[in-house]
C-alpha cells in the first residue's frame, strides 16, 4: 500500500537546477504520469523516487516514512530505466525470472510469473531467445516484463514504451494500465508523449524546467489547462493574440489582429488587457458556406484552406483567417471523409465557451510555448 510524497525537493547538478522546490503526493494504487519535454527533469524526478539520486534539499516519504537516506533496494520499488540493461548471456525467460528470484521467490514460482509477463508483453514465443537476437522494442518489453514480474508494489517506469513502434505502443499502453489496475500497484510513469499519458494515467504531472506546471486528471489538464504552456504541450491548440475590447457580465468581446472581433465566455480579464486566446484544434469547426454552419451561438470568421492532411480518425486543415492569422482545425473523419481542397473559401466557427483566455505572458508567447 505505498503512497508517496515529495516535499520541497531540490536537486542541482553543478549550476543547473534539475528539480526546483517540487512537492507532490501520489496516492496508494494511483497511476501517475510525469509528462514533460526533454530536459524538464522527468528522469531525475523518477530517480529521486527510486533512491538512485539523493536530493539536495527536501523530504521524500513512502507510506509516511522519511526515506531520504534509505537505500534503493529497501524502498520496495522497482525501477525500469530507459536503457534496458538485460543480461546478455541469459535467455529472455531467465532475464525476466531474475526479477522475482532476486526477491527470494522460489524458482518454479519465478518461472511461472516470468512466462505470464512475457505472454502479456506478446513475447511468449521468444522466451528462449538471447537478448541480442531481439529488436530494441522487444528488449524493452523484456525489461518491462522483468520489472513487472518482481510484483513490487511501487513501479517506477522511465519511458517504458519509448523504443516501440507506434502501433505496438498503443496496444501495450492499455495492457500496462490494466495490469497496474488489476495488481493494485502504485505506478509512476515518465513519458514525453501526451497521448500516452492521457490514455494510461489517473493524474498527470506536467513538468517544465524542474517544476510542476499542473498536476491533475487528464480531463482537467486537457479541458482546463492552467497555463499556455500546458495547453500547448498537452493536446496542442491555436494561440491567437488579442486585446480585451469590452467586458460584459457573462462574456467579453476580444479584438484580434486587424480589428477582428470575437466573443468569449471569459470575464476574468480587464478591458484593454493584452491576452492570448486558446482554441483547441478540434473545437474549431469549418463549413463550406455560412448556411452550413451548425445552428447555435458561434463566432464565425471567413478563411481560406492552406493545406490539408489526413491523420486517420481526424482530418486536419490549416486555414488563413480573414485577418491574416493562421489556425489549425481538426474534424473527425466520420464527419468529413474528404479533406477540403487548398484555396477553398470556408467559414471557421467556434463556441464562445470553447475559447480559453490567458494573460499575455511576460516572457513573450513564443518563449512561453517553447518545447525544446
Amino acid at each position: 500500500m505505498p503512497s508517496v510524497k515529495l516535499v520541497d525537493i531540490v536537486k542541482r547538478f553543478g549550476a543547473i537546477t534539475a528539480i526546483n522546490r517540487l512537492s507532490m503526493e501520489i496516492a496508494d494504487k494511483e497511476y501517475v504520469c510525469i509528462l514533460g519535454p526533454t530536459g524538464s527533469g522527468k528522469t531525475t524526478l523518477l530517480r529521486l523516487f527510486a533512491g538512485l539520486t539523493i536530493p539536495d534539499e527536501g523530504e521524500i516519504y513512502i507510506d509516511d516514512k522519511l526515506v531520504n537516506k534509505m537505500p534503493a533496494e529497501e524502498r520496495g520499488a522497482v525501477y525500469v530505466p530507459q536503457q534496458y540493461a538485460l543480461f546478455p548471456h541469459l535467455t529472455v525467460l531467465e532475464n525476466v525470472a531474475f526479477g522475482p528470484l532476486a526477491r527470494g521467490v522460489n524458482e518454479e514460482e519465478a518461472l511461472r510469473t516470468a512466462r505470464e509477463m512475457l505472454e502479456m508483453m506478446m513475447l511468449g514465443h521468444r522466451a528462449d531467445s538471447k537478448p541480442d537476437e531481439l529488436s530494441g522494442g522487444m528488449q524493452q518489453r523484456v525489461a518491462l516484463a522483468r520489472g513487472l514480474a518482481t510484483k513490487a508494489k511501487l513501479l517506477l517506469l522511465d519511458e517504458p514504451l519509448g523504443a516501440l513502434d507506434a502501433r505496438l505502443r498503443v496496444e501495450l499502453r492499455y495492457k500496462l494500465r490494466r495490469l497496474a489496475e488489476e495488481s493494485g500497484v502504485t505506478t509512476i510513469h515518465v513519458t514525453h508523449d501526451q497521448a500516452e499519458a492521457t490514455a494510461v494515467s489517473d493524474r498527470i504531472a506536467v513538468l517544465r524546467e524542474g517544476r510542476i506546471r499542473q498536476y491533475a486528471t487528464p480531463f482537467h489538464v486537457y479541458m482546463r489547462p492552467q497555463s499556455l504552456f500546458v495547453a500547448h504541450f498537452v493536446g496542442g491548440a491555436n494561440f491567437l493574440q488579442a486585446v480585451v475590447a469590452r467586458r460584459h457580465l457573462e462574456e467579453s468581446v476580444l479584438e484580434l489582429h486587424q480589428g477582428l472581433k470575437i466573443t468569449v465566455r471569459d470575464t476574468t480579464h480587464l478591458s484593454a488587457e493584452e491576452v492570448v486566446v486558446v482554441i483547441r484544434e478540434d473545437r474549431l469547426n469549418i463549413a463550406e458556406s455560412a448556411d452550413k454552419v451548425d445552428s447555435g451561438s458561434y463566432n464565425t470568421i471567413e478563411g481560406e484552406i492552406q493545406s490539408s492532411r489526413f491523420l486517420g480518425s481526424f482530418v486536419s486543415h490549416q486555414i488563413r483567417l480573414a485577418n491574416g492569422d493562421m489556425v489549425m482545425s481538426k474534424t473527425p473523419t466520420q464527419r468529413l471523409e474528404k479533406p477540403m481542397p487548398v484555396g477553398k473559401k470556408v467559414i471557421v466557427y467556434f463556441k464562445p465557451s470553447d475559447a480559453l483566455v490567458y494573460s499575455y505572458p511576460a516572457i513573450g508567447l513564443s518563449r512561453e510555448l517553447r518545447v525544446l
Binding site: 522487444m138 486537457y222 496542442g236 492532411r309 480518425s313 473527425p332
Partner: protein, 366 residues
C-alpha cells in the same frame, strides 16, 4: 526530375529474408512513405537505394538509369536518418555547405544555395552556431538542408524524426513536407509511425516480412484497406468473426454473434466465413435499443483521451469492442455498466477472408 523504379529487389542476411522480390515505383515529385513493423525490410530497402547496402538480386533505376554500380557519392541522393549526424565541430553554415565544397564548388557558388536553404528552414540567424547549440528538431532540419545542398533532388528519410519528442516531431513533419513540395523534390520516407506517414505523404506503402503488402493514398488505405494486416496496422480496429448470409445490391449482410451487420463490400459470397473490422471512431454508442447495423453490450470502461472519449463495451460472447467518441461531438450521458447500443455505417464495416494462419498470427506486429 527523379523517378525511381525498383525491380525484383531481394536481400538476404543468412537465412533471414529482408527483401523478397520487391517491385516499387516512385513517381517524380512524389512523397512516398513506407511503413511496416520492425523487421519488415523497410530500412533495408532504403539503404539499398542509398547505396549503403547492395541487394542480392534486382535493379534500382533512377530516371531510367540503373544505379547498381554507381558509388554512393555519385548517386546524388540525399540521405537523412534517425541519428542526427552533423559534424559537431563545424558551424551550421559549414555543415550545410560541406557537400558543395567537397564536390569542388567555389565558396561563392555554394553560398547562394546554402543561404537559400538556411532561409527555407528558418535558421538563417543561426548560421554561426554549433550543432549542439540547437534543439534536436533544428539539428535535423540542418541535416535535411545539408542533404539538399549537394544538389540532390531525390531524398531518402529513414525515421528522420525518430529521436525527437512527439510534440516537436508533429510540428517538424509539416515544415519538412512544405519544403520538399516547394522545391519539387522526390521523397522516400521510412517510418514506423502510421499517423506520420498518412499526414505527410501522397502515397503510403505497407511492408511486411520483406514484401510490399499494398499501397495507396492515405485516405483510401485507411478507409478501405485491401488486407486485414493493413486494416490493423494503420490504426486500431475491432475484429469480429461472422458469416455472410445475404448479398445485396449495395454489398452484403454478415451475421455476427446474434446480430446482422451490413457492409458495402461486394466481393463476399453467401456462406463465407469472414472477419469484420470496424475502427473505434466509426462506431457510435448510445443508451437504449438500436435499429439496424448495431451490437448490444455493457460498458466496462470509460477513459477520457483528449480529443476523444474511449468506451470499452462487452458484447455477447464476452468480446470487448472499443469505441472512440470525438469530444467535440459533445458529452454522452453514459456510465460504466450501462447497457448500450453500438451503431456503425455499412461503409465502415470492412470484411476479410479468415486468414489461414489464424487472426492473431496474421496481425502480429513484428
Amino acid at each position: 526530375m527523379p523517378q525511381v523504379q525498383i525491380v525484383g529487389l531481394t536481400k538476404r542476411f543468412g537465412s533471414i529474408v529482408a527483401l523478397e522480390d520487391v517491385d516499387l515505383d516512385i513517381r517524380d515529385k512524389e512523397y512516398l512513405s513506407i511503413i511496416g513493423p520492425s523487421g519488415c525490410g523497410k530500412s533495408t530497402l532504403i539503404k539499398c537505394i542509398a547505396g549503403i547496402m547492395a541487394p542480392d538480386k534486382g535493379k534500382i533505376l533512377v530516371d531510367d538509369h540503373a544505379i547498381g554500380n554507381v558509388p554512393i557519392q555519385h548517386r546524388r541522393i540525399g540521405y537523412v536518418f534517425q541519428e542526427i549526424a552533423l559534424f559537431p565541430h563545424m558551424r551550421i553554415i559549414e555543415n550545410v555547405s560541406y557537400g558543395p565544397r567537397v564536390q569542388g564548388q567555389t565558396e561563392l557558388s555554394a553560398k547562394a544555395l546554402v543561404n537559400e536553404l538556411l532561409n527555407l528552414i528558418k535558421l538563417s540567424d543561426r548560421v554561426n552556431s554549433l550543432p549542439m547549440e540547437l534543439s534536436g528538431g533544428a539539428q535535423q532540419k540542418v541535416a535535411v538542408a545539408r542533404a539538399l545542398a549537394s544538389g540532390s533532388a531525390l531524398l531518402l528519410f529513414d525515421e528522420p524524426f525518430g529521436a525527437l519528442d512527439s510534440k516537436v516531431r508533429a510540428d517538424l513533419r509539416y515544415e519538412i513536407r512544405k519544403m520538399t513540395t516547394d522545391l519539387g523534390l522526390t521523397v522516400l520516407h521510412v517510418t514506423h509511425d502510421q499517423e506520420e506517414a498518412m499526414s505527410i505523404s501522397d502515397r503510403v506503402v505497407v511492408m511486411k516480412a520483406g514484401r510490399v503488402i499494398e499501397d495507396g493514398p492515405p485516405l483510401q488505405l485507411y478507409l478501405h484497406p485491401k488486407t486485414i494486416f493493413t486494416a490493423n496496422f494503420l490504426g486500431e480496429a475491432n475484429f469480429l468473426r461472422g458469416r455472410v448470409i445475404q448479398q445485396t445490391s449495395t454489398g452484403a449482410v454478415v451475421q455476427v454473434e446474434d446480430t446482422h451487420l451490413q457492409t458495402t463490400d461486394k466481393t463476399r459470397e453467401v456462406g463465407q466465413e469472414v472477419i469484420v473490422a470496424i475502427r473505434p471512431e466509426f462506431i457510435s454508442v448510445a443508451r437504449g435499443q438500436g435499429d439496424k447495423n448495431c451490437l448490444r453490450g455493457k460498458v466496462v470502461e470509460i477513459r477520457f483521451m483528449g480529443q476523444a472519449v474511449r468506451y470499452e463495451v462487452e458484447i455477447a460472447g464476452g468480446r470487448t469492442i472499443c469505441v472512440e467518441h470525438p469530444t467535440c461531438f459533445g458529452e454522452l450521458e453514459i456510465e460504466p455498466l450501462d447497457e448500450v447500443t453500438l451503431t456503425t455505417a455499412p461503409q465502415h464495416v470492412m470484411a476479410y477472408s479468415v486468414p489461414e494462419q489464424g487472426l492473431e498470427k496474421e496481425l502480429q506486429l513484428e
